[in-house]
Amino acid sequence: MSSLFKVFANIDRRVWHLLTFILVGYTLLHPIGLPLKVSPEVKKAYEVIENLKPGDVVLINFDIAAFGWDEIKGSCLSMIPHIFSKEGVKVIFLTVQDQGYIFIERTISQIGKPMPGYDKFPWYEIQGKKYLQDYINIGFIPGFDKAIAALAQDFRGVVGGKDWYGNSIEEWLDKNGIKSAKDIDLIVTFDCAGAQSYFVSYWYVPFKTKILNAMIGVSAPGSIVNYNAGMLEGIVISIRGAAEYQYLSKYYGMALVSMDAFSIIQFMLLIAILIGNIGYYGWERRKEKR
Amino acid sequence: MVVRIYPFIQERLSGLLLLIAMFIITFYYMRRGRLPYIRRVPALDAIEEGIGRATEMGRPVIASPGIAVSGIDYWTVGALGILAHVARLCARNGLRLLVPLGGSEQSYTLVEVARDLVESQYRLEGVPERFDINDLPFLSGRQFAWATGYVGMLMRERPALNVMVGLQWGSAMYIAEVSHEAGAFTISGSTYLSNIACLAVSSEYVTIGEEMVAAGAYLSRDPVQLASIRTQDIIKALMIAILILGIIALGLGSDIVKLILST
């Protein structure tokens, strides 16, 4: 028996490393479909998008940098198609990160296809919605928090007359009655650097604009505080939230699949801690006493 | 010339008053000098233990003042105080000191400051010829490339002591674990609590909160500098008092204290 304790006390860390690799790789390729409970904040986010009415204008902000893309893409690839599936909803893409436009294009190319007769950006069609008819991309606005504040003050002025690709958007904005920040009905912000807090201060506080927020795990605490205070309509936290959203909206994707790996690795950690304790009490502690 | 007195910006008066109060208290205690009592900080005392270990084993020491994400801020100056201490002990004991530098786009000035600082410690100990700038390499302005270079140095040089303080982000955990694997005695510090929680699990000692920032004064053993630490405790007591007062006031239906704090 004590030899077993000795083994437990001295498990090589590389065993855990290899086990993590194998378990994650296997479950990602062969998902089991473990049960998933949808949390109320994701449910609320889903309902806000589900209840969008024709004519509503949605501003989608990409506060995404390269390091966070892998974690947030699950939310992007389920929430954005869900928005586009709602009839008559107009969408404006925006980014406050200098690399953000890469991820807007990456998202659009994954959920849409080029419009007939075109082969490059921005002429893509998403769920039947066409560029410059149903949605536009105004691209990167420098200044981060200052950009968000400036947009709230003078939306048309800051956006200017051109989209990210140099096409004129004045007419589109006029046609859809977007004169100022007050005409935006919903903001969806995908955060790697906590842009939501600025949307709350500069958009929610003066205009009571509804804000949905998806973010990476690291910036979750700030969002939770604002959600609890009622300033965010719904929040989608990290891959876990993305998985729940994918489950609700039926845009199944990798986030949902990776939930199995999520659970399994967590239980592996618990077992690792348990084994470490057994080894400690069965072997190390006795050795210390001796 | 007409001197106009401009009004104070709204919502910032309380901060100004607090700052002035702290100035006065600090200068008062620094003039009085010598505190009756100061608690030991194990993480900082352990540096000498680690240096002793390195001398015994004849292996180098590795130390980092952090990645200085927002330039040379107070965290970084605190960390530089620790680095100066480590450099002095290394020079005195004839140990090789490795300092991986860089890590963010604002860290470039820090690179030169740290090199200058280490060099001057070697000079002060009378061994300027032992200083080798190639032991203080610049490992790019990207956090994780810097961390990878750091880890590479840990794997190859097998230092006996690893002191990583200053601004340390997610990469700190990576470095601390490899350092443990490489058999180094690790003393770490970080600027936010979730990182400290992870570092506490993997390092021998961590500095928590103000310990790193006050390290310069603590390690100098200079009574005048040590006396300035007293201010921190006085303001803490003041904060607790304001907190309790505010809660009592709130219980009586008045949010006056909250209002005062926001002016």
Binding site: V218, R240, S258 | G152, L261
Partner: protein
């Protein structure tokens, strides 16, 4: 797939697994290769970023309107003083820009922290604890206040710990450790999310999966063989 993107995937997979190879605990040529290319590439990127910044935000502004932007010329001179660091005789001149940078850095970081790090934190802790209509909230608020006060006493350095202060200090320490556990678990979750995202990129679609498996196996087998049978060769291959 065109040849360019194939090579990007192949090389990025090789860098990824080269960096992962440190998990074997053996210093190996793959890690050394990945480390040096990564650091080299990162240095190249950061220099280009800084250079572009100097040109577009400094040189161009000065050249376009020197009469208005003359303060930037002083900035330029201070920057050039920094370059004197490499000159043994005049390197002391670099102390001037260093002092400016230190003064600005410390002052900027403390001035806002007085509010965000001190006063607003206290303001946020002033919570209603006498609200008997909502006992749950009142209890939670009371606990927050107790936690804050006890942990605050944990950070007392210049007063001897005696009597109630000692008890409070002890409680603060215990609370701090419990919160370390909670924060550790939360961080673990965040990192796990990023790891799963990275694994997904490596395993899906099929091409990536094949490249990843091949690269990973080649590296792992090479490392094991070298370590077990040819340790001297392995030692020669790493810096």
């Amino acid at each position: 797939m065109d040849i360019g993107s194939f090579f990007v995937i192949l090389l990025s997979t090789a860098v990824t697994f080269g960096l992962f190879s440190i998990l074997t605990g053996v210093d190996n040529p793959f890690f050394a290769w990945a480390e040096n290319t990564y650091v080299g590439g990162a240095v190249g990127m950061t220099i280009v970023v800084s250079f572009t910044w100097i040109v577009s935000n400094l040189i161009q502004k000065i050249l376009s309107n020197p009469y208005v932007n003359w303060p930037l010329i002083i900035s330029l001179i201070l920057g050039l003083m920094m370059l004197l660091r490499v000159h043994p005789k005049y390197s002391y001149l670099a102390r001037i820009p260093i002092s400016i940078a230190t003064g600005v850095g410390v002052a900027v970081s403390t001035r806002a922290a007085i509010f965000s790090g001190l006063l607003y934190q206290i303001r946020a802790t002033i919570l209603p604890i006498f609200d008997w209509r909502k006992p749950e909230t009142a209890f939670t608020n009371l606990m927050i206040v107790v936690f804050v006060v006890t942990i605050m006493t944990f950070f007392v350095y210049t007063t001897e710990l005696k009597g109630p202060l000692k008890i409070s200090h002890r409680i603060g320490r215990l609370v701090l450790f419990a919160s370390f556990g909670a924060l550790f678990a939360q961080t673990y979750m965040g990192r796990l999310g990023l790891f799963l995202g990275a694994m997904e990129t490596l395993l899906i679609p099929e091409t990536n999966f094949r490249i990843s498996i091949t690269v990973a196996l080649i590296m792992l087998i090479t490392i094991i063989v070298l370590k077990r049978y040819y340790p001297e060769t392995l030692n020669k291959l790493v810096p």
